[in-house]
Symmetry: C14
Amino acid sequence: MDSISIIAVVSIITAGLTTGIGCMFPALSEGKALATALTSIAQQPDAAPTITRTLFVGLAMIESTAIYCFVVSMILIFANPFWNFIIK
Amino acid sequence: MDSISIIAVVSIITAGLTTGIGCMFPALSEGKALATALTSIAQQPDAAPTITRTLFVGLAMIESTAIYCFVVSMILIFANPFWNFIIK
Amino acid sequence: MDSISIIAVVSIITAGLTTGIGCMFPALSEGKALATALTSIAQQPDAAPTITRTLFVGLAMIESTAIYCFVVSMILIFANPFWNFIIK
Amino acid sequence: MDSISIIAVVSIITAGLTTGIGCMFPALSEGKALATALTSIAQQPDAAPTITRTLFVGLAMIESTAIYCFVVSMILIFANPFWNFIIK
Amino acid sequence: MDSISIIAVVSIITAGLTTGIGCMFPALSEGKALATALTSIAQQPDAAPTITRTLFVGLAMIESTAIYCFVVSMILIFANPFWNFIIK
Amino acid sequence: MDSISIIAVVSIITAGLTTGIGCMFPALSEGKALATALTSIAQQPDAAPTITRTLFVGLAMIESTAIYCFVVSMILIFANPFWNFIIK
Amino acid sequence: MDSISIIAVVSIITAGLTTGIGCMFPALSEGKALATALTSIAQQPDAAPTITRTLFVGLAMIESTAIYCFVVSMILIFANPFWNFIIK
Amino acid sequence: MDSISIIAVVSIITAGLTTGIGCMFPALSEGKALATALTSIAQQPDAAPTITRTLFVGLAMIESTAIYCFVVSMILIFANPFWNFIIK
Amino acid sequence: MDSISIIAVVSIITAGLTTGIGCMFPALSEGKALATALTSIAQQPDAAPTITRTLFVGLAMIESTAIYCFVVSMILIFANPFWNFIIK
Amino acid sequence: MDSISIIAVVSIITAGLTTGIGCMFPALSEGKALATALTSIAQQPDAAPTITRTLFVGLAMIESTAIYCFVVSMILIFANPFWNFIIK
Amino acid sequence: MDSISIIAVVSIITAGLTTGIGCMFPALSEGKALATALTSIAQQPDAAPTITRTLFVGLAMIESTAIYCFVVSMILIFANPFWNFIIK
Amino acid sequence: MDSISIIAVVSIITAGLTTGIGCMFPALSEGKALATALTSIAQQPDAAPTITRTLFVGLAMIESTAIYCFVVSMILIFANPFWNFIIK
Amino acid sequence: MDSISIIAVVSIITAGLTTGIGCMFPALSEGKALATALTSIAQQPDAAPTITRTLFVGLAMIESTAIYCFVVSMILIFANPFWNFIIK
Amino acid sequence: MDSISIIAVVSIITAGLTTGIGCMFPALSEGKALATALTSIAQQPDAAPTITRTLFVGLAMIESTAIYCFVVSMILIFANPFWNFIIK
């Protein structure tokens, strides 16, 4: 395999795996946070606005780690400096 | 194997695995959130509307991580820049 | 092995694994959601209609992640762009 | 190994593994759902008809993921497009 | 190794593994369901007929996933289309 | 290695592993069912006959999955169609 | 390595592993059953004869899966049809 | 492969994996902290301001470990001293 | 490596592993049974003779699975039919 | 590959992995500590200052292990004695 | 490598691993038994002599499985029949 | 690769992994100890000075195992006897 | 590699791993026993002398399995019969 | 690679891994013991001196297993008999 192929190959694999792996645990902990939010609302309906607001701020923070991974994948597919260097 | 084959091969594998792996944990945590939602409704039937609404907003957020993975797979199958470069 | 074989081989493996792996966790969490639904009905028989309705909406959402995987498998077997390119 | 052999080999392995792996978790969660159903009946004998009906609908839905895998295996053994292409 | 050997070899391995792996989880969840059935009978002796009947219907459904795997193994040993093609 | 050896080797390994792996989980769940049976008898001595009868029917059903594996092993050792074909 | 050696080697490994692996879980579940038996006797001393009798019947049934594995090992060491065929 | 390719390849893989792996556990523990925060607010609504403030300080501290990993990835992609040395 | 060496090597490895692996779970479940025996004696000192007697019968039964493994190891070291055949 | 490349490659991989792996568990246990801190504040609002102070001292101590790993990564990237020796 | 070396090598590895692995679980279950013994003494100080006596008999029985492994290691190092055959 | 390179390579990898792995569990158990310390302070505010003092002594002891690993890494990077021998 | 090197290499690896692995579980179960001892003392301060005495006897017994592993390592480093045979 | 290099390499890896692995579980169980000590002090402040004293004796005993591993690493780095033999 020549250099162009190998870099293309590696970029594809890494992009896929980074998103695939990196989305696992954010999904898991969003599920967990959501679950406890629902339990808490059922337990203390009066605090629902506070709980919901804290929940969405927290979910956004967790989502950010998934987005870091998605960003790295997108960089590797569409703005990859190594690929740009090689194909020049 | 020539360059075209290898890139095709790698794209296929990565597309499959990214979706396969990336859908595992969203499914898991949607199940968990759904389960606690049901428990909460049984425990506090009066809060059912609030719980259901929060549930569906949260499920959509979790679903989004599965969709990131599906999007990466679709990009790799139908809009793959490395493949387009090679077959030119 | 020539290019045609290798792509056929890889498509077969990936199609099988994607469905095989991708159906594991949806099944698991449908089981979990179903289990808590049954517990909740036993605990609060009056809320059975609400619980059942929420359950089926949620199961459909979880099922959707299994269907993403099944769709990727079917695309790889019957509408594979790389295979179509190679056999031309 | 020539192309025919390799594709036959890969189809056999994938067909076996897809069913083998894909039946694990549906079985597991059917067992879980069944177990909670029995507990719920013991706890609330009056709700037995509702519980049983919800149980069987849910089991059918879980069984469907096992059937996706079985279908992929059967396609790979008896209606494999790659095999049909090669042996022509 | 010639083609006949390799296909025989792969069929043997896959047949064994599919049954070996595929029987693990059905056994596990039948055990679980049986265990909760016994607990439920001890807890609510009057509901024994309902519990026993639901148990056996459910066990049959779980057993079906083990039988899918056994069927795939038997097909691979005694009705393998790839083997039949090769030895002709 | 010639074909005869390789098929013999593979048959030996597969026969051993299928029984070895396939007996693990039935043993585990028989142990679990037995354990809960004992707990249930201690808790409700009057229901001992019902419990014992359900236990033995269930154990037989679990044992059946171990026997599937044992059957596959015996077929591979003493009635292996691939071996019979090769040594002819 | 010639055929005789390889078959001897494989038979040795498989015999060892089948017993080694196959005895793990029976031991585990015998321990579990024994433990609950002791708990149950302490909890309900009057039911000791029933518990002890059920325990020993169940242990014999679990032990049977360990014996399947031991039987396969002994067949592979002392009554191996493939070995007998090769050394003729 | 020449030196330039190999270093590019390795940088891509490492950048992807470092972010992918390094974001897993921060996400997990942010989810956990968020979940307990919600439980605590439901349990003690009066302490909501203190809890929320401690929560966000702590989340920032956890996020910092994810950012270490993201920083290492960015260094490897855009400010890699080994790459700069090689391409000179 | 000639045949004698390879068989010696394999016998050594298998003998070691069979004992090493096969003693793990018996030890584990003896520990578990012993632990519950101690708990039970503390809870019901009057039943100590019955508990102790059942404990030692059960420990002997668990020990038997460890002894199967030790027997296989000793057969492989000191009464190995394949080794005897080869060195003749 | 020549010596310069291989050392560069290995330094990149190790730097990435050390940070990636080494940040996992500090993140995990900071999350755990933070979670219990929040629970404790909710349970005993009067002790909030003591809890918060102990929490931040402890978090700093845990963070220190993540920093050891980050330091090793930075040494390997920017102050690597082996690299300096080789490129001279 | 000649035969003498390879057998020496394998004996060393196997001896080390057998003891290393084989001591893991006895240690674990001795710890467990000891822990419950201490709990039981604290709970029922009057039964301390019975508990202590049963504990030491049981620990000896568990220790025996560790000693089987140590014996196999010592046989492999100092009384290895395969080594004695080869160096003659 | 010549000797100098290989030793440099191995030292880099080992240094990284030793710190990376060796910091995992100290971090984990510091987190656990810190968490229980916070719970204990909330539960018994009067014992805060004793708890805090014991906590910091214990944390120092746990930190010592992380420092052993860091020391080994530093020795391998900056005071490696094998490296010093080779480059002479 | 000649025989001397390979035996030296293998002895080093095995010595390290045997101690490394073999010390894991004794440490774990000493920690567990110690933890329950502390709980028991807090729960029943009057039984402290009995508990402490039983604890130290038990710890010595657990420590013995760690020492078996350390002994095997020391034999492999300083009194290795295979090494002595080879260097003669 | 010549003998000197390979032995140096292996010594470095083994030294690193032995300390890295061997420090994991002592750290873990020191954390556990410390945690229960803190809980016990909070629960029974009067027994603090006894608990603290038992804790530190026990921690020293656990630390000893970590020190065995550190000792083996130091022997392999600075007093390695195989290395001394080779470089002579």
